[in-house]
Amino acid sequence: MKIKYIPIFTENIETQARFFTDNLGFEICSNKNILSAEECIIIKTNSPDIFLIIARDTGFDYRKCRIVVSTEDCLRDYHSLKTAGVFFYNEPHYSPLGLGAEFMDPSGNRCLLIEERSYNNLT
């Protein structure tokens, strides 16, 4: 498991994205929807494995995911975290990106465990 995405919630995703691209030199990478947000922009940071997700702030604070942990095998890690007593908000579920499940860290922050799957490469 490794941290791959850091979500940032904002009312104006374009302004927020420009801040990171213009001031910090990061690049816009894609707009794939990882957090089931209505709109989001993925920004590539200077660290090759870490991306920012700029997502529209819908006001539902309790739903906001604070960190996205990437895994090669969601079911394995879901099982091992559950066995270790970590609270999961939901069972692993499928999305166009792959398989994911949301869990809570000890401080009550919501985190997403996600296994991204390249379905297109299978055909």
Binding site: D73, L75, Y94, Y119, L122
Partner: protein, 290 residues
Amino acid sequence: MEYLRTLRNNNVIYSGTRDTKYNQQTTSDFSIRFVFSGNERYNIGKRQLSIHTDSFLILNKGTQYTSTVESAIPVQSFGISFDDKFLQDFKNSWQLKDDTLLANYKRPLTSRYEHEFDETIYPFKGDLFFNVNHLKYHLDRGLQDELLINEYLHHCLINYYQIFNEEIFQKAQRLNFLNRSTKIEILRRLNLAREYLYTNYNQNISLDELAEYACLSVTHLLRTFRQAFNVTPHQFLMQIRLQRAKDLLKNTDYPVNEIVNMVGFDCPSSFIRLFRDRFTTTPLKFRQDF
């Protein structure tokens, strides 16, 4: 890697390399059969169903079959049998949830309808592909945790029903027949045609032969096949051939010309053109890049 794991809840997982013909067997439970190399042919009554690495087969409880290994390379078989209670628990729990795949069936897939159609070949794709590969990876390395194994099996069922929904139910919905029993009967015959193409993809198949196997007239076959699968039988056959050629390019050292013949193309140039159209790369470049 050879093993036969019987879990405490009587789910069974088999993995092994086969290179012989097997005598008649009977499935004791609902089973999913895969191959990870080569291909294996199942004979169920008069039907012949051949599975490759891009497809899988469902066998219902009590089905009598024989299986034959057909490829030059040893066949790596992998099978999962689900205990009745596990399967029933799964269906009960998932059919009760509003947001699940099974609930999307609304009313149409009664157990009779489901039982009638599930025993066929399906494309090995999507989440089932990932979950079965993960499961096999862990079992090959000696995974003992049955809770985790059953978690994978549970998800394999979710994934299988998603594919069943796409391949059977959604295709039945596309058929332009008002009468429900006509729709079911046509879909059954189209499935025979599809199985025939999956199994004999490398043969020179005529439309007459295919129509006869499916018990439909040629015009009826062409019209309904297109309605259900969105492609003609010929286009479907080309898709299978190209996919299998891609697998051979990826997993073997056979020269391209030999692969062309193995998958049933007559002419290398038309194979290369079709391959490029479908995968936006040439066969040689694909092999080099892989």
